[in-house]
């Protein structure tokens, strides 16, 4: 069963198009949605959470679409944004009142408990909360009701390491029972990546890679060396070569690594490097000329 299914999603803006975006997130797993700034991550998430309407395609959550059952669809999503979506003039009690009004499954005592654990000040206006407090408040509002999927849009940006570790723990707690799933977007090397089961890589509005993280990390290696040692054959195998004054760096498919001798340094690639070199390569699968 899929927690989330996105099929042929399109959205046309004047200067940006989201083109035929499709992916599935099985129930109980975590998906990282990665890409550089402006690649279309937030647009996709906004279409899923129905902050805006798609021009084509469909999204279903737990098998139901927004059109089929709007209330159930929206209630099953817990959204955490890169900035607080509560009005800055709100205080804790206002947030609580709104959640109570909007969501039938909102549990007041659970909310109070979390707010107390995290020592969120009751009298301070949200506008004066720190970044960490705002994130905690969003988590409290979302985790105190029944959701089936958490959607995080760059939610850990600008958080200190302690808070990031706390968020990761919270997320892992959330998927523990195998019934809950998580979709998060990020553009930076992120410790969130360590808990991702699937990686979807979007570039200029199109999906470039969609794999389990394990497969992805196994499929590529980094190669570094002296440009003088590169013949035509080797050059052609490389994806997005970056040349410096003292050597080059490139991405290789693991199976192509054999053609490179011991004069090259070959080591496992991380997701950041895979993303970087793909973008350097113009977002193409094929290696450069």
């Amino acid at each position: 069963m899929n927690a989330l299914e996105v099929k042929g999603l399109c959205k046309n803006y004047k200067e940006f198009q989201l083109k035929d975006v499709s992916f599935c997130l099985p129930k109980g797993f975590v998906m990282g949605y990665i890409g550089e700034n402006g690649a279309g991550k937030t647009t996709t998430l906004n279409l899923i959470t129905h902050l805006c309407h798609q021009d084509a395609g469909m999204v279903s959550i737990g098998g139901i679409t927004y059109e089929e059952d709007t209330r159930r669809y929206l209630e099953s999503i817990g959204f955490i944004g890169d900035e607080s979506y509560f009005p800055g003039t709100f205080r804790l009690k206002d947030v609580k009142a709104v959640c109570k009004m909007m969501y039938s499954s909102f549990q007041e005592d659970k909310f109070d408990q979390m707010v107390e654990n995290w020592k969120l000040p009751a009298k301070t206006r949200i506008a004066n909360y720190s970044r960490g407090m705002k994130v905690k408040l969003m988590f409290a509002s979302v985790l105190s009701r029944d959701t089936s999927i958490l959607i995080l849009d760059e939610a850990t940006n600008g958080l200190d390491p302690v808070m990031r570790a706390e968020v990761i723990e919270m997320l892992q707690e959330y998927i523990m029972d195998g019934e809950h799933s998580i979709l998060f977007s990020t553009h930076v090397l992120d410790d969130l990546e360590q808990i991702a089961d699937y990686i979807v890589f979007i570039h200029r509005g199109e999906i470039l890679l969609n794999q389990t993280k394990e497969e992805l990390l196994e499929s590529y290696v980094m190669v570094r060396g002296d440009v003088a040692d590169l013949n035509e054959g080797r050059r052609r195998k490389m994806i997005g070569m970056i040349q410096g004054a003292y050597g080059f760096e490139g991405l290789l498919r693991s199976r192509d690594a054999e053609g490179f001798g011991s004069m090259f340094a070959i080591e496992p690639a991380d997701i950041d490097h895979i993303m970087l070199h793909y973008i350097k390569n113009g977002g193409k699968e094929n290696a450069c000329r």
């Binding site: 109980g28 797993f29 975590v30 990761i168 723990e169 892992q172 707690e173 998927i175 523990m176 029972d177 195998g178 360590q194 808990i195 991702a196 089961d197 699937y198 389990t212 993280k213 394990e214 990390l217 196994e218 080591e267 496992p268």
Partner: protein, 126 residues
């Protein structure tokens, strides 16, 4: 059970988990019949993805160290299980081979080697 992940390791994370559990089963730190933590529990404790721990457990099962029992979880197979016996034997052989190599290198006689083994054996039993 202990699992320590290194980001500097050449081994992928699932293989690190697999090798560490394997080692602890073979050296007796994890005893036969032990129920391993669930895939999701382990993922949470170690801070890795569910697919990563699933893969480690699948490998351990394929290689005959553990078995998964519906409703119970993953259980370490008994020592006298055919496959496990084989694994322990291999481990003993490896150890003895290293010892023989060293013995031959310094020109020790076979009988002398046997005597050394017997006396150490007795010492351990006491």
């Amino acid at each position: 059970m202990k699992v320590i992940i290194s980001n500097q390791s050449e081994l992928p994370i699932y293989a690190q988990i697999r090798e560490q559990i394997k080692e602890q089963i073979l050296n007796g730190q994890i005893e036969e019949g032990t129920i391993l933590p669930s895939i999701r529990k382990l993922a949470k404790e170690v801070g890795v993805s569910v697919i990563t721990t699933t893969r480690a457990y699948n490998d351990l099962e394929k290689e005959g160290y553990i078995t998964s029992v519906q409703g119970k979880g993953s259980i370490v197979l008994p020592k006298d299980n055919e496959v496990m016996k084989e694994r322990y034997l291999m481990r003993i052989e490896e150890g003895v081979m290293t010892a023989i190599h060293t013995a031959q290198y310094i020109g020790m006689e076979e009988e002398e080697f046997h005597n050394l083994v017997s006396s150490l054996w007795k010492e351990m039993e006491e």
